[in-house]
């Protein structure tokens, strides 16, 4: 048996490491560890409730919009207010903008280098000026650093990388077009962030989100700018992004059967009516082949293998949590959330599976079209490649729907309602982050935060073992993954990263005494 350590897993958000046992060329056991802790909920306590909207966005620089929306909805609930139509639409639009940004970033900047051979640029013969510059830079780096003390950094940050036979795509043209698209994607993801900044003020960390709505007011100029930019992004998503996902799928068909998981959970997102009753992305649980309703009471958190000294298997409302870096047997700063005692995957694949089986027409249409192009059955989505494909399809659905939301905006009308901070109250805000289900809970006392909690996506899928020793979704998904070279375990990396982990989000402390009992959702 070989022990294989990947520390750090790079091109993700935050500090994540993975330890694998490899027997006869396959992963037989896995430990996934979150390696960073800050203590956000401890810091939130005792502050102005309105501050939570800004502070919780700083949990994560990649998905601040989702935290901002969850927090806004949570404060709306606690303040007993509801946003107006413009506010609802603008929240949806900035959230959609960041979903698209995050998915494009994930596929190209975070994942592509695990498949594409960046050194192919050295043979570039075409006339694209950017590619020529990249080529001359790479050549210069290699020549000028040869034999020097910094030789290892030549063509950094792209090299050094894991090296091995068959690791990267061999076809020269596929590689070159992917590298060009890597550069295009940098520009397109910035444009997606432009969408967010138009209505959100800035990004990362939107300034314009407040309880009751959005401080920005839509005008003709901003709507026109949004639409123009959105259409440009939509063309990229359909003509480039989706096609590149298909190209990777054809080059690495094995990953349609690797890295799968079987249970899925989604809170749903993107409110479609002013009562906030219907959602574009469906809410639900997929388990053993069927869809069931979601009940927040069934969440519990196990900590036997997490670096906290609290009681285990408690509802998030009950635990009294203190960090304990030296706790025996504990190996992660993530807790192990379980629903009905079982681990669940959240994220684009979960949303797609629940949407497809709940009869969401847009999801069904997109999935069926893609499957027929790949000449594949529906079961292939339960895989590492399935997750990549679901992200691209989600971008298409959001681009189309966002354009309709723009049409519904009322020009010049304020996008918010007023609030008064109550002496006491409590609230819940559920939404989706690009990487999965996100929930915020608050209790207000004497006009300040008495307690604040976030239950975030990566904690679900990157969780360590629970008290019964049952591994988290990523740990389970890794079992059976072939490892051709224990020194260069690229196959395991591809599986882990298909989940799009975000560790800054995942690590946080639940504070004691939250009564989540009153929260019932459909």
């Amino acid at each position: 048996m070989a022990k294989v350590l990947i520390d750090p897993v790079t091109r993700i958000e935050g500090h994540l490491s993975v330890e694998l046992d490899v027997v006869r060329g396959k992963v037989s056991d896995a430990q996934v560890r979150g390696d960073m802790f800050r203590g956000f909920e401890m810091i939130l306590k005792g502050r102005n409730p309105v501050d939570a909207n800004q502070i919780t966005q700083r949990i994560c620089g990649v998905c601040p919009v989702s935290h901002g929306i969850a927090s806004s909805r949570c404060l709306d609930d606690a303040f007993k207010i509801r946003t107006n139509r413009n506010g609802r639409l603008m929240r949806n639009l900035v959230l959609a903008g960041n979903f698209i940004q995050s998915h494009i970033l994930h596929f190209y900047q975070l994942s592509a280098l695990d498949y594409v051979d960046i050194t192919a640029v050295l043979d570039y013969q075409g006339r694209d000026e950017r590619m020529e510059r990249l080529k001359s830079w790479a050549r210069f780096e290699i020549e000028s650093k040869k034999g020097k003390s910094n030789e290892i950094t030549a063509v950094g940050p792209f090299l050094p990388r894991y090296e091995g036979e068959g690791f990267y795509i061999k076809d020269r043209d596929t590689n070159l077009s992917a590298i060009a698209h890597y550069l295009d994607a940098l520009d397109i993801r910035l444009k997606a962030h432009k969408l967010v900044a138009l209505f959100g003020g800035r990004v990362p960390h939107l300034i314009a989100l407040v309880p009751g709505g959005v401080t920005e007011t839509p005008d003709r100029h901003k709507i026109r700018e949004f639409r123009k930019t959105l259409r440009e992004i939509e063309r990229f998503v359909t003509n480039i992004y989706l096609e590149d996902v298909i190209a990777v799928a054809k080059a690495y068909p094995d990953y349609f059967s690797l890295g799968g998981f079987d249970s899925f959970l989604t809170y749903g997102a993107f409110e479609e009516d002013d009562e906030e009753k219907t959602l574009l992305v469906s809410r639900g649980i997929y388990s053993k082949g069927s869809i069931v309703g979601f009940d927040p009471q069934k969440i519990s958190e196990h900590v036997m293998y997490s670096r906290y000294n609290s009681g285990s298997q408690l509802h998030p409302s009950m635990g009294d949590t203190e960090p304990d870096p030296e706790k025996k047997r504990a190996y992660s700063w993530l807790k192990a959330p379980r629903y009905n005692g079982k681990p669940y995957e959240v994220g684009p694949l979960a949303r797609t599976v629940v949407g497809y089986l709940s009869g969401n027409e847009a999801v069904k249409r997109e999935v069926d079209t893609l499957l027929s192009r790949l000449d594949a059955e529906i079961n292939v989505v339960f895989s590492a490649l399935g997750r990549h494909a679901c992200r691209a399809l989600e971008c298409r659905i959001l681009c189309a729907r966002a354009e309709e939301w723009l049409d519904e905006l009322e020009t010049g009308k304020k996008a918010r309602t007023h609030y008064e901070i109550p002496d006491a109250g409590s609230g819940m805000g559920l939404t989706e982050a690009p990487r999965g289900a996100l929930g915020h809970w608050i209790r207000v006392k004497d006009k300040i935060i008495d307690n604040y909690q976030c239950v975030v996506p990566t904690t679900w899928f990157c969780s360590p073992r629970d008290d019964r020793g049952v591994k988290g979704p990523v740990e389970q998904a890794l079992i059976g993954t072939p490892i051709s070279d224990p020194k260069n375990p690229i196959e395991a990396v591809r599986v882990v990263k298909s989940f799009d982990p975000c560790i800054a989000c995942a690590v946080h402390v639940m504070q004691s005494g939250m009564d989540m009992g009153r929260f019932r959702i459909c």
Binding site: T10, F37, G39, I55, R58, Q109, G156, R161, L190
Partner: protein, 335 residues
């Protein structure tokens, strides 16, 4: 190298740069920058961060990120961008320490925990997990320069904020300057910092050496004016026209905007390729570039809870005076 005079001036802080960088210098800057970049690397490490500074860096336009990392600098290590993983990645910084390389600028994003190294670790060397503090001490001791990007690395930020009930801080999170006490750490605060502030400071180091810094070690190029001085809503303030609710027209002072107490150039530079700004979008400034963030107001992110510091008798504007009187009686401002 496609830097031109206009881009360069913008990056360097607009009109102020004309004084810092005389024309002759600019004509030669392309060549000089290329030469400097050949010899200078950047090692970017993340402590207790949200990666927001890195995401903000991706939103740079002049230069864009591809130009920055292929033509302005040589980026040796950056966890969110780099190709390498695990020991292949850590090997880069391990070798920089072992070979005592002195040819790099160390950039740190995120605060550093001091209570226990396990609060933030990066890689395993010789069978032992390494805390981020150890890496920063080792890499910092021979770096050409050290830049702390973002409010967490510069001042402690939110991970370094106080626990209200008990005092103290969950992990003993401190800024880079507390760890590297002998070095003159350049602070580029902001939550997040603007990409131009980060790229521009590096370019300044390469071409002209250390930029002029204020008392908090922030480059004066970007942090010499208050938000209020260049605010889009300054004329409202001068006319005494104040917004009562978020989203209203008017100066945002009564809603707790911290623009008067906060130094940065966002009202003129704006976020994401000139798209929008904090005050422009109607939300006001939360003081994220100041050392006391997120406790800039006496109890939070907004000034209105800071009223005990203001003396109503010397305030002429009746609306401001009334608002402060209200706060002194224990009232709060709702949005």
């Amino acid at each position: 190298m496609d830097i031109n005079r206009r881009d360069f001036l913008k990056l360097m802080g607009g009109a102020a740069a004309a004084i810092t960088f005389p024309g002759v210098m600019l004509q030669g800057c392309r060549k000089a920058l290329k030469k400097a970049a050949e010899n200078t690397s950047v090692i970017w490490v993340q402590g207790q961060s949200c990666s927001g500074c890195s995401v903000s860096l991706l939103n740079g336009r002049e230069p864009d990120i591809a130009t920055l990392i292929t033509e302005y600098i040589s980026l040796n290590f950056h966890q969110t961008i780099m190709g390498g993983m695990g020991s292949t990645a850590v090997g880069v910084i391990e070798e920089a320490v072992k070979k005592k390389r002195k040819d790099y600028i160390l950039v740190v994003e995120g605060s550093i925990p001091t209570k226990n190294y396990k609060y933030c670790t990066l890689g395993e060397v010789d069978g032992r997990h390494r805390g981020i503090r150890e890496w920063i001490e080792k890499l910092g001791s021979s770096a050409m320069a050290v830049i702390a990007v973002g409010s967490c690395a510069a001042f402690g930020g939110i991970p370094g904020a106080e626990i209200r009930a008990t005092g103290g801080n969950p992990t003993g999170a401190v800024p880079v300057s507390e760890i590297l006490k002998g070095s003159n750490v350049i602070n580029i605060p902001g939550c997040p910092p603007h990409p131009d502030w980060m790229a521009g400071t590096v370019v300044h180091l390469l071409l002209k050496g250390m930029p002029k810094l204020d008392e908090y070690n922030r480059p004066l190029l970007y942090f010499s004016n208050t938000v209020h001085e260049r605010c889009e809503r300054l004329s409202y303030y001068k006319k005494g026209y104040f917004a009562k609710h978020w989203g209203d027209k008017g100066c945002l002072y009564l809603l707790g905007c911290l623009g008067m107490d906060t130094h940065c150039d966002i009202p003129v530079r704006k976020w994401v390729d000139g798209t929008n700004s904090c005050t422009g979008s109607g939300s006001g400034c939360i003081g994220c570039t100041e050392a006391v963030f997120p406790d800039t107001g006496s109890r939070g992110l907004y000034k209105h809870l800071n009223a005990e510091l203001d003396d109503p008798d010397v305030i002429e504007n009746p609306e401001i005076r009334a608002a402060i009187m209200n706060l002194k009686r224990g009232g709060i401002i709702n949005g």
